[in-house]
Symmetry: C2
Subunit: 496 residues, 2 copies
């Protein structure tokens, strides 16, 4: 991976001075076009060897382009708000919106490489990180991001020469610390790990660009040209035919009979009011105790509610919050995304609501909208909602590994029950229960929705975050089943 | 203040059971109307005496209304991200957007009251806090917020009885801690301080609502009714004539001659390229050292750039960032507010970008848009931009007190120079320098803008955050003046 970046590339001053003005003007132009178009963000990762000009390159890009539309992020030790959330949360926070350039200096590659070189993690851990990174970058790319990964390189020899030269000059001597030499001694180890990581994360949509860092002029021109070329190419594609994720989806198997997960539910299940009252008190009490348990301070609870219109999500959620301290939970009702949310990958607006430890977040509709309403209504293309299943699994996997308990409910009612509830609502005096045209329209697509729901459950009911199907024709039965499931899941997680 | 809340109010069960269902339905309806209208947020503060039902009231409101559109915030000890910003930052973060209800439990009243009762602060500190709170709440109210401040009260006697009763029952004994008795012993002290605070913060737009907390039914019905009444009244006003901030502004004195701050500047000031190069190196070096100084780790730098179109803000900003490490600064270009920003008080979108310590934030245009473009173009009504001067001073005062160095630049060019630059830009091949129709339109309002600028400087150039007027007909002179000012201000602040 590094051979070409150890040849001692140089650019003479004359060539450099001749080429830079045009390059800068072109870069500025390309950045301007990207900002006007607002169709994709550019994510620039800067990694590499100490002393190979990483910081200088970041400053250079800010100097050559319009820094007002560049967001540069370094990642010092995480804040407490970051530590209480999944590892990737801080990077999601730093993603640039469409039209902007984000330079991430010290990013999702840093910890896996350093950890492995320092032998704090095992080879298998590193390979897991690599796989996660690949999936993450693939998702970013499919969501439209232009990803450029620069690896600034120095050979061991060049690295040694650099440190010696700095030490020799009395003005720069202070810049060489004992730590620099310690890191230098680990050069081969870091090189080995880095090479492994680069080889396995150099993908078609996000290849590594290794740049020899010894000569400042060579380095600067190289980075600038690569960036310009990438911006221009993308702009050309946008202009010609619009950029499109190329991942073709394998078709889902058609149902070969009419039996599915939803219509196999026993919808007659019901509770008497008396039994309900008793069970409600019992489970609300248990849920309250569980969320006040000292062990819960290191966990969090994320509840997802999906279901047909009028399936009773709101009422069920109120029975959960009735058991909780209002200071502890947030309910996030999901409607159309805001402008700021539309400028980001679709999962961004859920990442921003990931709770800290000791907290409960209830999503009233969720990221599953991608494979339900967006699929059925055609808001998302097939390739996009098809990849969402895997992306969602990755998201939930990160939540669970950070200590969250993820509980997902599908509230199922029959078409007849829905019709009954719609008609009741139309009669009621409360305007907040009014039935909209949209509700009636959605109803006509009952079969398409049922098909989407069954696919969703098949593809996203995982061991770590299973779906619970709730027979909700009887509201009392549904509420108790939800409460009991929550208690059981929390209890199991806190025992583990 | 508390007399009426020590009478031993009670409501019998029968009355309660009869009144609650209708009250709940009405509250839900009122909440729904507010959510549909999306014109104002409701901010509900819950404060008061221990054991007077504060937590219970918060839970009750969530149970009686639709909790999906209520955001409840408690304020445990601040996170490190919060500690590195002004005291009020965490409350700004928690403000509900228009259409939503925000319940703030433990809020901007808590620390001033507790600090004074514990004698950690002086009477003068408390009075300063009171004044700041009044100004803050006035601003919220002028921005449209419906503010309800509940003080849950218990007499000393009722407080003692409550603790004794809890201790007597073996099931509730654990709820009484030694700390409860310690706090009880300070009852009179807390009462005195609280009364002082309530008296001085009970304003027409945000009066305190003292509720006796001993009887749960009385307390619940009272809070519910007050809230319903407030929501309905506001809704009625919105329906009838639209809600309007009633603060009438005193007219600004008209200019009695043609001499003003801007046209008194000596616009002939200029630098040769040679002098500029030397000065640039000097001041960029100084700025770099200042921002890398250990003392800067506890400070932050906030730069504000305002100026006519084509005054050279972008180029000047690049000369500043050229001296900084890109990991350390963010540039915030201010254009039209986003949807999420429009749902909040106008200062919210600037608060969200307040830097942590050790960081630099550069605003390319700023909160002063309120008294410049919004004033001149009529986007804000006179009463609204007139109050902005004081609100902005309050904002900057908080920034400075938290350790930020706030440096504000007005880049001034003459009308002739602007015309020259516009024409040059029209000739240049770079599309990013294109002149828009709007630029030409703004130019026609030159005098109105100049008038607004002079008013702005008169009213917001304070000792802690003065304006620096920069004669910018000569770009070289302007850039050096800005850099030198920044260095001087930073140096002075870090010496202090």
């Amino acid at each position: 991976m590094f051979e070409s970046a150890e040849l001692g590339h140089t650019i003479d001053k004359k060539t450099y001075d001749r080429q830079v003005p045009k390059l800068r003007a072109d870069l500025l132009d390309a950045q301007f076009d990207m900002g006007e178009l607002k169709k994709y963000p550019s994510i620039i990762l800067i990694n590499g060897v100490n002393g190979a000009g990483k910081g200088e390159t970041v400053n250079l890009l800010n100097a050559w382009m319009d820094p007002r539309h560049i967001q540069t992020h370094a990642f010092p030790p995480p804040s407490d708000e970051e530590r209480e959330r999944p590892f990737m949360w801080r990077f999601w926070r730093a993603l640039p919106p469409k039209g902007k350039i984000g330079i991430l200096f010290g990013n999702w590659y840093t910890e896996p490489i350093v950890g492995r070189a320092m032998k704090k993690t095992k080879a298998a851990d590193l390979d897991q990180s690599i796989e996660e990174i690949n999936r993450f970058e693939k998702m970013l790319s499919d969501e439209g991001a232009l990803i450029l990964k620069f690896w600034m390189h120095l050979s061991k020899d060049a690295q040694r020469k650099r440190l010696k030269a700095l030490e020799k000059d009395k003005d720069t001597r202070w810049r060489v610390t004992p730590e620099d030499w310690t890191i230098f001694k680990m050069y081969d180890k870091f090189r080995g790990v880095s090479e492994h990581v680069l080889r396995h994360t150099s993908t078609g949509h996000a290849p590594w660009l290794v740049v020899e860092g010894a000569d400042e002029r060579y380095r600067s021109l190289t980075v600038g040209r690569i960036l310009l070329e990438a911006l221009r190419k993308r702009q050309r594609i946008e202009g010609e035919r619009g950029w499109k994720a190329r991942s073709a989806a394998a078709p889902l198997p058609p149902a070969t009979d009419t039996r599915d997960l939803i219509n196999s539910l026993d919808m007659r299940q019901a509770l008497t009011k008396k039994k309900f009252d008793k069970a409600l008190e019992k489970y609300q009490g248990r849920l309250n105790q569980l969320t006040r348990h000292p062990k819960f301070r290191d966990r969090s609870l994320i509840c997802v509610f999906e279901g047909s219109d009028a399936a009773g999500k709101g009422g069920t959620i109120r029975r959960i919050t009735g058991a909780l301290d209002a200071r502890q939970y947030q309910i996030i009702p999901i409607a159309a995304p805001s402008e700021e949310e539309r400028a980001q990958p679709y999962l961004w607006r859920f990442w921003r609501h990931v709770p800290r430890t000791g907290r409960v977040t209830i999503f009233d509709r969720s990221w599953y909208g991608r494979v339900l309403v967006e699929r059925v209504e055609g808001f998302a293309q097939e390739a996009d909602w098809m990849r969402a299943y895997a992306e969602i699994n990755d998201f939930e996997d990160q939540l669970v590994r950070s200590g969250a308990v993820v509980v997902k409910f599908w509230l199922a009612i029959t078409a007849e029950e829905q019709l009954k509830r719609f008609k009741e609502r139309e009669k009621t005096r409360f305007k907040r229960f009014k039935i909209t045209e949209e509700d009636w329209r959605n109803r006509k697509k009952w079969d398409a929705y049922e098909h989407a729901v069954c696919d969703m459950i098949d593809r996203s009911s995982t061991e770590i975050a299973p779906w619970t199907l709730v027979e909700a024709n009887d509201k009392l039965h549904a509420r108790i089943k939800v409460l009991k499931t929550l208690c059981d899941r929390l209890e199991a997680a806190m025992k583990a």
